[in-house]
């Protein structure tokens, strides 16, 4: 049953090659979606273009549904896949800082790599800043370790939080994505007109 013990199956170099291939696909899709261009990413926050939300939530819905079905069919062991442990407060504060960083810088870490490697200078400056920020975090986290571990809830999932069957959560997230797609289009139309 999936996920597989890659170490035993294809060894060290085999697994590294697999991760390299997955990363290749990820970078290829990001660039092909226009995510190497900060203007298109930032446009999401002015409702001018909605690529960010369309790509991201379509991907989440597709992956979530497939994970749910393969688990239900007994092909995938959900307990064995990595679910980001919840540390509520640093997650929320970090997220707010990133929202500000996104508006100022125009990229997120992954998209800046794609921008940089296609020789966009703004992507390179962003990536340089990102490295600086990462370095600064490693040097300063020692001063606020308690906060960095605050709101710890371990592996905590939406079905547990909402007290609902997983299938219902998947259904609700799909509905939410559809409402968002329609709603954001409507807002864009109201601001910029239907023409574009």
């Amino acid at each position: 049953m999936a996920p597989f013990d890659l170490q035993a199956l294809i060894g060290n170099s085999g697994s590294y090659f697999l991760y390299l291939a997955i990363g290749f696909g990820f970078g290829f899709i990001l660039e092909s979606s226009g995510f190497g261009d900060a203007r298109r990413l930032a446009a999401q926050f002015y409702f001018r273009e909605l690529r960010v939300i369309k790509v991201m939530f379509t991907a989440i819905v597709v992956a979530m549904t497939l994970i749910f079905w393969s688990t239900a069919l007994g092909l995938l062991d959900y307990d064995e896949i990595w679910v980001n442990p919840t540390y509520l407060w640093p997650g929320i504060v970090g997220g707010l800082i990133m929202g500000l960083g996104f508006i100022m810088g125009g990229y997120c870490p992954g998209t800046s790599l794609v921008s940089m490697v296609t020789l966009k200078l703004d992507g390179m400056f962003f990536a340089l800043g990102m490295v600086t920020g990462i370095l600064a975090f490693g040097e300063t986290v020692g001063y606020f370790n308690a906060f960095w571990h605050s709101g710890a809830m371990g592996r905590f999932t939406l079905p547990e939080f909402l007290h609902l069957e997983t299938g219902w959560v998947v259904f609700l997230v799909v509905c939410m994505a559809l409402v968002m797609f329609v709603g954001f289009e409507w807002i864009r139309g109201a601001i910029y007109g239907k023409a574009k």
Partner: protein, 177 residues
């Protein structure tokens, strides 16, 4: 701006989303992990630190857990995935003639202004992503798909932060009023 030509050059966002979703599922199915970016960059940064100032690395707990003593910060799946992202982005850009030196900036600001803001934004992103234990890829996309409560809270915070300050920085991205 020739929007028609631009649009035909990039994939339809829903098509991109489906492909990205399939890739994300495949990643979880085969490896048990989702996608990531900032974590890989983090380990590359630490690897350089470990070369330059190894004693300091051993003394700083957060970094030592990745590179202290004999530990190799680069022997981790996410590093290889980030190398793949760089290659994949490059090949995609190359095939479409988009690999060229240029600066993307809003119509109201110069390239130099853009570089300055890009750097500051990058610092905030790098710091925030480590504070939140992941970025848009590792937390929002991957954690979102496996229904982590923390990842959904994080995702809401990123969008709330972005929409909350967008108006103040509109001169960076929008045309003049």
């Amino acid at each position: 701006m020739n929007n028609v030509a631009d649009k035909t050059r990039y994939w339809n966002p829903y098509v991109s989303g489906v492909l990205l979703g399939l890739l994300l599922f495949l990643s979880f199915f085969l490896t048990g992990h989702g996608l990531g970016a900032s974590g890989g960059v983090n380990r590359m940064v630490v690897a350089v630190e470990d070369l330059v100032i190894p004693e300091h690395v051993d003394r700083t707990p957060y970094i030592a857990q990745m590179a202290g003593g004999d530990r190799d910060p680069l022997g981790h799946w996410i590093v290889w995935q980030v190398v793949g992202v760089l290659l994949g982005g490059f090949v995609s850009g190359l095939l479409r003639g988009r690999v060229k030196v240029q600066t993307y900036h809003g119509p109201q600001i110069s390239s130099h202004t853009r570089w300055g803001y890009a750097f500051i934004g990058g610092v905030l992103m790098g710091y925030g992503a480590r504070l939140a234990r992941g970025c848009t890829s590792g937390q929002a996309l991957s954690g979102g798909a496996v229904m982590s409560v923390g990842s959904w809270a994080f995702m809401l915070a990123v969008f709330a932060g972005g929409y909350g300050v967008a108006w103040f920085f509109r001169r960076l991205w929008q045309a003049g009023e």
